[in-house]
Each structure stands twice: as structure tokens, then as C-alpha cells.
């Protein structure tokens, strides 16, 4: 079936099997491998992308369900060679180690900050609680998002 969507501002149109998962479509068909796959069951969140600005687990979303929508992946966070404050925050605060969960964490953080520019630690922890990081123990991810809140203005993503 034909799917049409906007990924990081570019129109994408492909003929895919109806059962194609969005994560596989993004990675294998479009070739954007920054979105990772980790669990099949919506538990780990390494596959999170933004659909119309909202974080969604692309391993349990069909590509067909995303048709007609705006998708933002990690590759879309940096605009005109300027890093999103969230990306900068993760570097500054050691918010990543192996980097596998990082794209999903950063996209959730971006969506959070768009809605709530000054979230409390509790709110940040709640926002990323659908995602798993095995390396950092989360404190530095929380600090990274706080860094982004302090240093960056919200960026319009996915609209």
C-alpha cells in the first residue's frame, strides 16, 4: 500500500506492505537509522519518534498509521547546523553512554519542553518513564533535560 508522510520536513512516498512497522519503514526504507529498535512491546522506547509533535513508539505503530502525518526523528532535531538545546544538554551533562536509547529520550524531551518549558524533576522523570536506559541510571538524563530547559527556547518540531 502507498504511504505518504512528511519526515523531518521532507515528503516521503513509498509502496509498503500493510504490516510494515513504522520503525522498519523509517530505518530500512527511508534509511534514517538514528531511530532504534529495542523490544517489540512498547516497553523500552528506543524507537520513539514524534508524530505531529507527540512522542510515539514506532515499533508498535504501522507505517500506514503514520501516513498523512508529520514525523520527526533524531535526524530532524538539528536544524541548519544548529543543535537542539536538548542535544547540547545531553552532551554537556553526560546524558548518554552507549547512545542507543538517546534518540528516543531526546525526542521525548523535546516534546516535553515544547509543552512545558520549565518542568520539575518529577515531571521530567514521569515524561521519560516509558523509556529505558541501561547505562546512565537516569540522573544525568534528567540533568540534560534541565540543561536544555535552562539554555534553550522551545523549538517548533513536527508542526
Amino acid at each position: 500500500m502507498q504511504v505518504n508522510m512528511n519526515i523531518n520536513g521532507e515528503a516521503v512516498s513509498e509502496d509498503v506492505e500493510a504490516r510494515t512497522l513504522l520503525v522498519h519503514f523509517i530505518r530500512d526504507d527511508v534509511g534514517l537509522t538514528g531511530t532504534h529498535w529495542g523490544c517489540d512491546t512498547s516497553n523500552c522506547g528506543t524507537c520513539v519518534v514524534l508524530i505531529d509533535g507527540e512522542p510515539v513508539k514506532s515499533c508498535t505503530t504501522l507505517a500506514a498509521m503514520a501516513s498523512g502525518h508529520d514525523i520527526t526523528t533524531v535526524e530532524g532535531l538539528e536544524v541548519d547546523n544548529v543543535l537542539d538545546p536538548v542535544q547540547e544538554g545531553f552532551m554537556q551533562c553526560h546524558g548518554l553512554q552507549c547512545g542507543f536509547c538517546t534518540p528516543g529520550m531526546m525526542l521525548t524531551a523535546r516534546a516535553l519542553l515544547n509543552n512545558n518549558p520549565n518542568p520539575s524533576e518529577e515531571v521530567i522523570r514521569e515524561a521519560i518513564s516509558g523509556q529505558i536506559c541501561r547505562c546512565t541510571g537516569y540522573s544525568t538524563i534528567v540533568r540534560s533535560i534541565q540543561w536544555a530547559a535552562e539554555h534553550g527556547t522551545p523549538v517548533s518540531v513536527g508542526n
Partner: protein, 791 residues
């Protein structure tokens, strides 16, 4: 003649200090290169059919329907592999493991057949078309009954095998220990279980195998923590010439020990590429990762401590029953079948110790040494730290006071334990006192007393651990005959930029940053001018890889020493440039100057150009500025730490909340404090996970009940507190820069602190011990006076 060397700043040290990571710019842009990101022209996809039963004879396999499917290129069974002599492979413990089962399956989800197809969906579809007839055999699930005479023999493939015994092992002095126990004022006993756990890195295991039939060259992109060791094993398994094998570990999405063993899937992909002549990708799904790859722990330990009534610990004794699963896949030095469990005497000065152990086969997935355990020190530290708290309860003594009374003293180092381990350096009491100060220990105890009055359940748990990392001296340690030394090569280019090549491989630990810092510290070239190459057997010197916290103790030492070797040569060249003798030069981290006349100096960059440039060099000196070494560690290094955990337990729901966690670590000289803190944080989350949530469990038929992240629970940001970390610095006396390693310290040290805190909270209920994982249901059981072992 001199050029201005860049001045170090707090943000950009030339050498040790907080430095942002060189890995991060690509990873935060989604430009990492993980195994599943690799796409090769004509690449096919491999999927594995797995057994639904834990123990069953394979009667027949009909693969015809699968083979007939469009898009399916090959369907391969164990029988097919046997025709090539590839149905079995060696494990890292000199056992063998089935690549694909031929005679029978020995654990649920064991590999039975594989499909290669043009895409991953078709490969999975085809698995469903393979018809396998099994004949049920009673599984051996309970480790305690595995040696009963009436249970089925699992390893019928081993000639003459009549039981499920793997090995017996002992350490220490049984008679001397018994004598101490006979005369002790106080003896405490407790069964302590460390249940089966799993590292579950976010990236599952997988590979892309590309075997060129014409040249015989095999390129293997693989999720491996030990590319060189894997290359050698592939050469031995498949009979491929080692110089034709290139193992590449690209970015790795977490390892924690899960990516040390060689799994059947890797071998299947290599065989498939060999048979078909095209590149083949195999990536596990999450279930496959959890239920078939290297598990961790699974020890049933009978602990005993003998002490005086004043609280002086005299002796420690334990008897251990070890579940090794269906194949002994332990990845530990071969002379250490129980890993480094021999350090179970912990951080205490005692008179005698003894351990006996029996390891058995069961119908469960193989593994045993994985998950940041420093070769079983997790189990050892958990045993001793739990037992010390059992003793404290018996003596009605504060658990901090009891530890302070028994810790090895500073002037006793190097300290040889009663089981023969020589702790290189330590200063334990200040670390514990620092943790107590950070925690506000006395105030916490006052708060706890008040809350108990009100019926609230608050617990304070301590642990003090000593790690043994950096395996290891080649006189004692090898894996499959490969000595555990590590190579390192450093080249300084003409313009003074450098490339350092490592045998170890980061899975998130930040080697590209810290190894550049080690070289920078030794030779004064800024870290950003130093490229770190790793994870590619064609482009790095041989060495055994990254696990057991060995990168800094072994490879870090190699990096420092190879840099010193280059610097020694640079000094000779500098003496020629400045026309003075070598002895008249002094080193100023980046330049040599003439003693007494600092205006006459040359930078390392000047020297590099001279080494490669025109004109004479001092007599006997070749051009170029590079060196290679292989470092054989003199001893292990022994990091240590003091941890304090504060929990609140809901008396109505039995839910445990970790309110605070204070960790003081001493890993010797610190290379990058930011990265060290990150390593500690990650391990603390592991500790909370194992203590409260994570367990791989089975039903009586051997079905694995923890096959997804919905059943195998891993802590999120809501179950973990904001970690409070501190450190002391006690350098290793034998490591060139005094560093000890830190990757697994917190995973090793934190579980007993959490469990001790929960047991402490439950003291009003008379609870003396409770086994992990302390889920609400298990805590509730404990509160009712029931104790259900997790095994």
C-alpha cells in the same frame, strides 16, 4: 623553534579531568553506526527457529513448506550443519554448545533451524512453516534436584555422562575454618540466593556476516565486546584461516557482559554467508535476547559467619550450588570456574575462610558470567554483605559500627586474603565514614527510630565492597588458552596529531575519550588531536577485549606505557634538536626543555615533525614516532566503595521506594570524573533493578517466564532516585597511572545495600532475611512471616 601549545582549561584538560565525550557528537545526531544499521548490497536476513520445549527429543523436521516460500533462500537444520561438522561449537569454558540442535533440545528457545530470506519479515514468516516433531523429556528445572539419581541426564551428548554434574570447586582452608567455627562465641547461618538475572542491553545481539567465496575473506560486523577473542574462536570453530577473518564491532548499544560469549546466531550467519555467497544479517528480537543469551548469577549460597560476641568477625564459610544451564558457557578465565567468587571474604580482616561449590546442568539457557559481575564478584559481595547484616542483627549491633570494626586497615595493604587474593591498595574506613557523612547517618537512624514509633517502615542499608578487576596476569589467567594481556599501538603523525589503537572496545564506557586522555596525560598532545581506533581486528593489536572492568586496568596501562615508550624516543630526538644530552632534558607535559634553561625547548609536535622530516636523527634512531606494546598486568586491581541506601516500604502495599542512595567509590586515579560518575550511576540502577525487580524465572516445565520487558522488569526513571556520589582516591601501586577500573563497581556493590535496607525496614516484623527480587509480593510474604525462595 617552539610553537605555542594549547593551554589546558577546566573544560578542556590536556590529560585527566572532566572532558566532554568525543563519542557524543555522532550519537546525539543519530549518526552512530550500530550493527543493525549496516546495509550491504544483496544482504539477506536470517531468523532462527527455536524450541518451544525445555527438554525434548527431535523426532523429525520438515522444512519443505518453508523452502517453497517465495523469498526464502535457504532453510538449514542441525542435521545440515552436522554434514559440515558445524553442529556444535566450543564455549568459552571448554564445554560444547549446539549451534543448531541435532539430537534433542536442552532449553526452551534453543536454536533448532534457521531461515535465510530476502527480508526480515519473510524470514520470520517462514519459521512458522517449519514442522518439527518433538518427543517430551522431563526437564530438570530445580537446581536443588539436578543431581538426584532419578532425574534425566541433560548432556547425553557427552560420552559416558551419567549425571548433571559440571564441576566441584573449593577454596580456602576447610579444617582451619572449622576450628574457628568450633570455638566462636557467635555463629550465624543464612541461605542467600542470587537469582538468575540478565544484562538486557538496549541493543540486542546480532551480526552481519559477509564471506567472500573467492578470496575466502570473512568480514563480520558483530555485537561483540571482545573482537579479537571472537576472531580466534571463529578460526578454531569454522576452520577459517585467522588472517582471513576481520571482526568489526561498530557502535555497541550496551554490553554489560551480554556480548562476550559467542552465540549460535553468529555462527549461523557465518555459515549462511558461506553457503549462499551473500552477506547475511542476523538480529535477535528482545525475547531471543532475554531467554537464550548469557544469563547471570543463579547461585544458591549457604552463608555462615563466626564472630566474637563483641563483633569481631573471625571466619566466613559458604557452600554454593551453581546453576549453569544446559551448556557451560561461563566466560571466565579457565582456571577460575567460579570466576573470582573467591573474594567472598570481602573487605574484612578475618582468620579463616572456606568455600565449597557444586555446579550443575539444568534445562535452562547457558551463561553464568555476564551482567557487569566482574566474574562473579557480584555474588561474592552480596553473600558477605548480606551475612554481615545477619550478624549485626544477631549481635544487635549497628551495621556501620560492625563494618568499621572489621574493615581491613590501611597499614595492612597489600593484603593477602585467606583465599589467596592480594588486594593491591586500600583505605577503607575513610570511604565508609565519608558515605556516612554524606548520608547524615546518625540523623537517618534517629529519623528511622521516630518513624518506627509511628509504624512507618524506613530502612537504611549499607554495603562495603572490594572489587577485583583487570584480568589478568597471564601466568594465571587465560580464556581458551588466550592470555589476558592487551596490546596498544600509538603513532604520532608528522604534524603532531596521533592515533592510538586499542584491543578493547567501548559499549558506552567512553573509550574514545578516556584513552585519548591517557595518551594526552603522558605526552601532552590535546585529546582532540588523538584519534582512538578500536573494535576492528584488522586495525588494532591483539587483546582480549572489554569485560570484567578490565579496559582501564589492562588496556589503560598499555596505553600509558606505549605513550611513555614513544616519549622516550621523542626525548632522544629532542636531545639531538637541542644539542644536549638526554639526561639534560626535562619533560613539561608536551615539551622537552633544557634543565636550567627553559627558553630552550621543543614541543612534542616539533619532535614529531623532526622524526618524520629531513635531516639527521641521533645515532641509532630510526625515523617515525610510534610504538606498540603488549601489557601483561602484574596483579589485578582492587577498587572499593561504601554504599548506603535509604528505603521506605509501604506497610499497606509492601512497595519499596528507594528514597536515597549514597555511593562513595574509590577507583584509584581518576581519568575523567564525569565518566566515572556515569559508570557508577548506571551500576546503581542495575543494583536497584536486581534487588527489587529483575529476575529470569521458569515454571516447572522449564518455560521461561521472563521473555519480554513486560515480565522482566527494568528500572525506569521513576524507580531510581537522584544518585548521591562521592569518591576517595587510593591509587593502585602497580598500575602505571594508578587507575583501578570502575565499570562494574556499582553493579557489584549496590544490590546488598538495597536488600539490607529493605530487611532493615522490615525489622519490626521480625524479618531477618528476604531474597531478591524484593517485589511487593515477595516483601508482603516476608511481612507475613513467610519465606519463599526465588529458586
Amino acid at each position: 623553534m617552539t610553537t605555542t601549545e594549547p593551554a589546558p582549561t577546566e573544560e578542556r584538560p590536556i590529560g585527566f579531568g572532566k572532558l566532554l565525550r568525543k563519542e557524543d557528537p555522532r550519537l546525539i545526531r543519530g549518526m552512530g553506526n550500530f550493527v543493525d544499521d549496516i546495509q550491504l548490497k544483496g544482504m539477506l536476513h536470517l531468523a532462527i527457529l527455536r524450541s518451544p520445549m525445555a527438554h525434548a527429543k527431535i523426532v523429525s523436521i520438515d522444512k519443505s513448506a518453508a523452502e517453497a516460500m517465495e523469498g526464502v533462500v535457504a532453510v538449514v537444520t542441525g542435521e545440515d550443519l552436522a554434514g559440515h561438522g558445524l553442529a556444535w561449537m566450543p564455549t568459552l569454558s571448554n564445554d560444547v554448545q549446539a549451534v543448531l540442535a541435532t539430537d534433542k533440545v536442552r532449553f526452551q528457545h534453543q536454536e533448532v533451524a534457521f531461515v535465510v530470506a530476502t527480508d526480515r519479515y519473510i524470514a520470520r514468516d517462514a519459521l512458522e512453516q517449519i514442522d518439527v516433531e518433538y518427543e517430551w523429556i522431563d526437564p530438570v528445572v530445580d537446581v536443588r534436584t539436578a543431581m538426584n539419581p532419578d532425574v534425566p541426564v541433560i548432556r547425553t551428548d557427552l560420552e559416558g555422562k551419567t549425571d548433571n554434574h559440571v564441576f566441584d570447586w573449593e577454596t580456602g582452608d576447610a579444617a582451619a575454618t572449622q576450628a574457628v567455627f568450633d570455638n566462636a562465641d557467635v555463629v550465624v547461618k543464612q541461605e542467600v540466593i542470587y537469582p538468575r538475572s540478565h544484562p538486557a542491553p538496549m541493543e540486542t545481539c546480532g551480526c552481519v556476516a559477509d564471506l567472500n567465496r573467492v578470496s575466502g575473506q570473512l568480514n563480520l560486523w558483530s555485537t561483540t565486546q571482545a573482537p579479537h577473542a571472537h576472531r580466534t574462536v571463529y578460526a578454531l570453530v569454522a576452520g577459517l584461516p585467522e588472517h582471513k577473518i576481520r571482526v568489526i564491532a561498530p557502535d555497541i548499544g550496551g554490553g554489560f557482559g551480554n556480548k562476550v560469549p559467542i552465540y549460535p546466531g553468529y555462527v549461523c550467519a557465518i555459515v549462511a554467508s558461506l553457503l549462499i555467497g551473500k552477506p547475511v544479517k542476523w538480529m535477535e528480537d528482545r525475547t531471543e535476547n532475554l531467554v537464550t543469551t548469557g544469563f547471570a548469577r543463579d547461585y544458591v549460597m549457604q552463608g555462615e559467619i563466626a564472630a566474637t560476641k563483641e563483633g569481631k568477625i573471625l571466619a566466613i564459610r559458604t557452600d554454593v550450588l551453581a546453576d549453569h544451564g544446559a551448556f557451560n558457557g561461563v566466560a571466565a578465565p579457565v582456571k577460575y570456574p567460579a570466576g573470582f567468587f573467591g573474594v567472598f571474604t570481602g573487605s574484612y580482616d578475618i582468620e579463616a575462610a572456606y568455600c565449597s561449590m557444586k555446579a550443575v546442568y539444568t534445562n535452562k539457557a547457558p551463561g553464568g558470567v555476564a551482567y557487569a559481575c566482574s566474574f562473579r564478584i557480584t555474588e561474592a559481595v552480596y553473600l558477605v554483605e548480606r551475612m554481615v547484616d545477619v550478624l549485626a542483627l544477631e549481635l544487635d549491633m549497628d551495621s556501620a559500627e560492625l563494618r568499621l570494626k572489621n574493615l581491613i586497615k590501611e597499614d595492612q595493604f597489600p593484603y593477602e586474603t585467606k583465599t589467596g587474593w592480594v588486594y593491591d591498595s586500600g583505605n577503607y574506613e575513610p570511604a565508609l565514614r565519608k558515605a556516612m557523612e554524606m548520608a547524615g547517618y546518625d540523623e537517618l537512624r534517629r529519623e528511622q527510630a521516630e518513624k518506627r514509633e509511628r509504624g512507618e517502615l524506613m530502612g537504611i542499608g549499607l554495603s562495603f565492597f572490594t572489587e577485583a578487576v583487570g584480568a589478568g596476569p597471564r601466568k594465571d589467567m587465560d580464556i581458551l588458552g588466550l592470555g589476558m594481556a592487551d596490546g596498544c599501538e600509538l603513532r604520532i603523525h608528522p604534524t603532531g596529531k596521533a592515533v592510538v589503537r586499542l584491543s578493547v572496545k567501548t559499549q558506552g564506557q567512553g573509550h574514545e575519550t578516556t584513552f585519548a586522555q591517557i595518551v594526552a596525560e603522558e605526552i601532552g598532545i590535546p585529546p582532540e588531536d588523538i584519534e582512538v581506533v578500536h573494535g576492528d581486528t584488522d586495525n588494532t593489536p591483539f587483546g582480549l577485549g572489554t569485560y570484567g572492568s578490565r579496559s582501564t586496568p589492562v588496556s589503560g596501562a598499555a596505553a600509558a606505557l606505549v605513550t611513555r615508550k614513544v616519549r622516550d624516543k621523542a626525548q632522544i630526538i629532542a636531545s639531538g634538536m637541542l644539542e644536549v644530552s638526554v639526561a639534560d632534558l626535562e619533560w613539561n607535559k608536551g615539551s622537552f626543555s633544557v634543565k636550567g634553561d627553559p627558553s630552550k625547548s621543543v614541543t612534542i609536535q616539533d619532535i614529531a615533525m623532526k622524526a618524520h622530516g629531513a635531516g639527521d636523527l641521533p645515532e641509532g634512531i630510526e625515523g617515525g614516532l610510534e610504538a606498540q606494546i603488549c601489557y601483561n598486568p602484574e596483579n589485578l586491581t582492587y577498587p572499593f566503595g561504601a554504599y548506603i541506601c535509604v528505603v521506605d516500604v509501604d506497610p499497606g502495599t509492601a512497595e519499596v521506594k528507594v528514597r536515597r542512595f549514597i555511593a562513595v567509590d574509590d577507583c584509584g586515579t581518576q581519568i575523567n570524573p564525569m565518566i566515572i560518575e556515569g559508570q557508577v550511576h548506571g551500576g546503581l540502577a542495575d543494583g536497584v533493578g536486581m534487588a527489587l525487580m529483575q529476575m529470569i524465572s521458569f515454571d516447572e516445565d522449564g518455560n521461561c517466564l521472563s521473555g519480554s520487558l513486560m515480565e522482566y522488569l527494568i528500572p525506569t526513571a521513576l524507580e531510581t532516585p537522584d544518585w548521591e556520589t562521592g569518591h576517595t582516591v587510593t591509587p593502585s601501586p602497580h598500575h602505571p597511572i594508578g587507575a583501578k577500573g570502575v565499570g562494574e563497581s556499582a553493579t557489584v556493590g549496590s544490590p546488598p545495600a538495597v536488600v539490607n535496607a529493605v530487611v532493615d525496614a522490615l525489622r519490626p516484623y521480625g524479618v531477618k532475611h528476604a531474597d531478591m527480587p524484593l517485589t511487593p509480593s515477595r516483601v508482603w510474604e516476608a511481612m507475613q512471616g513467610n519465606h519463599t525462595p526465588p529458586i
